[in-house]
Amino acid sequence: MTRDRGPSKFSPEVGIDLAGARKRVGTALNAGLAGVLLSILVVCVLVLAVAILHGTDATVLAKLAKWTPFLAQGFLLNVVMSLIAISAGTLGGIFLGMGQIAPFGWISWPSKVLTQIFRNAPWLVLLFYCIFLLPYQVRIAGQTFVVANWLRASIGLTIPVIANFSEIVRGAMQSIPSGQWEAARSLGYTWRQSVHQVILPQCIKRMLPPWMNLYAVLLMATPLASIVGTQEALTNLRTALQAEADGRLLLPFYAYLLSWFFIYSYPIARFSMRLEKRFAIH
């Protein structure tokens, strides 16, 4: 005997209760906070170790302190660029991802092709393209605006984010049992309504962990913008080292900057790992 196809894949335990989900997100947040403390600890040990190995004297620490505001300014730009790219990239990725599974060939084919092209291109190459292809200034309503380097870099970083998130969205939507689509259709929902009311809301929980991973990867990619002259953390660090012209500073300075990235992104990674585990069980 053959079993009915399609709907039988449906497992009833995909149900979520919001209160429970909130509690789970709460504990995951705690895990994130614990992650912050842990990462600060790790970094302190790291910096100390570098300092001791290096026979560091007080002057190195004083130099670090002196350049901290300048480095922080650069790091802020890394964070800003990452936030721009993740926001725009998420929005674009949702549409491109929906496009990939749209039942209309003239939408799904271009969406698939774009996704594959931009997902399989090196981020640096896409960044270069955007930096050099995007206009240096735009005229809006008779006024000329200069498009800053960092803004063009943000756009350059947005493109791979769109493509990667598009795949995350497609995978999540296709993991929803076909019975959900059929139930929605049998209630008169159009394809778009089905996506908005039935499919996407169920995907959010599955997309959250990979989305946070993507953000961490994106942040790590922001120093690429230094190659095109953006005044972000890595550029500023090099400027500082050049100004000091002291080889002993090299390792402590890089370790210092490394620690910032680590402190910022390790809690996010912990948080997403926790979410992933929680949602895998429930």
């Binding site: 009915d4 049992p177 139930a183 929605a184 209630l187």
Partner: protein, 244 residues
């Protein structure tokens, strides 16, 4: 019979060159309850899915009320307002509460007044004896309870006919009764019902007419007494001897 309410005429359907329906014709009068029985893979679900346009037909003609299902410019909303469907796997929306599951389509698809729909949905949940679980999520309910919610969801669209596709097949035996009771009640209230089922006792009790399918054809049909007492076709006899 007066003008049939649901009419299938010579319907053909193939999936990738595999014929699944090979000329199916059925006439169902308003208020009639018919049961479709037959071996697995004989096309029972496909017949239901063609009636509410989940599956497009290759050839043939289907009409529900005044709606031509097989016409190119089919109004899907009107059809879904007219015919509801209940699935074997319930297919409730897990991210919505029981009450929202029942009320969302009339509000979002039929654009009916939210307060009125909610009131109706609560009444229907009471009717299927689940008024006290209105704010639960489907995942918190038993299979039988979920299936009763699915029936309430179909009813909330105020359809003129409901299609039931083996709605007790996925249930533990002790829950089959509670779902069949609800269907009986709906049938007795005059709803046009097309029921695909393996519950022979139920079919005998509630059906006005029974259709037997095999290999994408309707092999024979008749009133339950006649059908079960002296089936004409050899295939029907062999099937009944296995399930009875």
């Amino acid at each position: 019979m007066s003008d049939p309410f649901i009419k299938l005429h010579d319907v053909y359907k193939s999936f990738h060159d595999t014929p699944v329906l090979r000329g199916v014709s059925v006439d169902i009068a308003k208020g009639e309850v018919i049961c479709i029985i037959g071996p697995s893979g004989s096309g029972k679900s496909t017949i239901l899915r063609c009636i509410n346009a989940l599956t497009p037909v290759d050839q043939g003609f289907i009409q529900v009320g005044s709606i031509q299902v097989t016409s190119k410019n089919l109004d899907m909303v009107a059809l879904c307002h007219c015919v509801g469907m209940v699935f074997q796997q319930y297919n409730l929306f897990p991210h919505r509460t029981v009450l929202q599951n029942v009320s969302m389509a009339p509000i979002q698809v039929l654009k009916q007044n939210k307060a009125e729909v909610t009131e109706r949905a609560r009444a229907l949940l009471d009717k299927v004896k689940l008024g006290h679980r209105a704010n639960a999520y489907p995942g918190e309910l038993s299979g039988g309870q979920q299936q009763r919610v699915a029936i309430a969801r179909a009813l909330c669209m105020q359809p003129q006919a409901i299609l039931f596709d083996e709605v007790t097949a996925a249930l533990d035996p002790e829950m089959v009764g509670e779902v069949l009771t609800v269907i009986k009640q709906i049938a007795n209230e005059g709803m046009t019902c097309v029921v695909v089922t393996h519950e022979m006792g139920f079919a005998r009790e509630v059906a006005d007419r029974i259709y037997f399918t095999d290999g994408g054809l309707i092999v024979e049909s008749g009133p339950p007494d006649e059908f079960f007492a002296n089936p004409a076709d050899e295939r029907t006899r062999s099937f009944l001897s296995k399930v009875l």
